[in-house]
Symmetry: none
Subunit: 224 residues, 2 copies
């Protein structure tokens, strides 16, 4: 499960990120509203945690912009105890839940679980293409009775391909969506990971392949 956590207090942010990672979430942390919006628009998260008070752009505005651009990802707001009207406005703008600050880690974890569970009830967690399926919870890539548990980057890359069947994704697009908006990784990394995935697909006797189109990008393709 991939989360985005936007919070300007760095020490709090680091503590929360540690706890979330300990509980097996993949977390991207940002420290202002602008970055929150950029990240949320370029990476497909399972949930977003937004502090309301943030520099550059406040959480409510990020929420509003995301919702108006069609983003359906569940969003959990963090509000100061006193700002009751912010909480109400947040729900009106399309937030899924809110927590008043200060909060306990257990409360946060419970709310995050609830937020993701609500979504899971309605969204399938197995992506398929050809005779291959990708489990979005366990990161298992399987086919013909065999399976691999994919490392994080291989998983994200495979998921990106599964969600964009029939569309060429350029190396730069992949870099942004898998490695993150401000990564310093180079195109070579994408090539290496494509090569890893191809090896896995061939080990599973997949009837799909990652097709490359020079100067354009990559796409999942069903054989024959």
């Amino acid at each position: 499960m991939k989360l985005l956590y936007a919070e300007d207090e760095v020490s709090l942010s680091e503590a929360v990120v540690d706890v979330l990672k300990y509980h097996k979430y993949i977390v991207d942390a940002v420290y202002n509203g602008e970055d929150a919006l950029l990240y949320a628009q370029s990476v497909q998260y399972d949930g977003i945690i937004l502090d309301i008070m943030m520099p550059k752009m406040d959480g409510l505005e990020v929420l509003q912009r995301l919702r108006s651009s069609g983003c359906k990802t569940p969003i959990l707001l963090l509000t100061a105890r006193s700002e009751v009207e912010d909480q109400i406005q947040g729900l009106d703008l399309g937030a899924d839940d809110y927590i008043a600050k200060p909060f306990s880690m257990n409360l946060l974890l419970a709310r995050v679980r609830a937020m993701l569970r609500r979504r899971e009830e309605f969204t399938p967690n197995i992506l398929r293409c050809g005779n291959i399926s990708l489990n979005q919870r366990s990161y298992e890539l399987s086919g013909n009775g065999r399976a691999f548990v994919l490392p994080k980057l291989e998983y994200r890359l495979m998921e990106l391909f599964m969600l964009n069947q029939g569309i060429y994704l350029s190396t730069e697009e992949i870099l942004v969506k898998v490695w993150g908006y401000d990564t310093e990784a180079e195109p070579g990394s994408v090539w290496v990971y494509i090569s890893y995935l191809r090896k896995r697909l061939s080990a599973l006797n997949a009837d799909i392949m990652i097709a490359a189109k020079r100067n354009v990008g990559y796409m999942l393709e069903v054989l024959q």
Copy 2:
């Protein structure tokens, strides 16, 4: 957003309708081609999802009748994985996109969003001229049941012609728009690429050609 979903497998239909409704779409479900046509002609939908294999009237016929009666609503086809020629025929008949079965809900949602978004932005995904269509996602140039996946520059050139039907484009204009403002390529490159495209069009038995007008430029022209 109001959708029509035509699918004869009731259990699949119910599952898909649930997911679509959860994502705030208003959905009418029908279970055969005749009903699909009736509903589509009496209600103004934002998008139509048509299974090809259906009782009473197949999806391709529904598509054809809707388009010939002037219906411009975006249509997404569901095809069995194997029936590649159905996909191409569907595009020839005026479908906006297709998904191969079986598909994941996420993929369906992504394509529905894309279909509706395109409608909003007035940018269709399939460009057409005569009996030839150009898929902007897959770079496929197709017609009469055959197709090529075009290299990038050939694709961009063909796209430019499709987007400028009835207008002569000069060699210099083409150089700037396809090769880029600061290219060092020479006019000869344009000639070479025009020649490549002509060869492809003739291999597809196209009823269009790239007409040249000396000292003026080039234009797509429908024969007779």
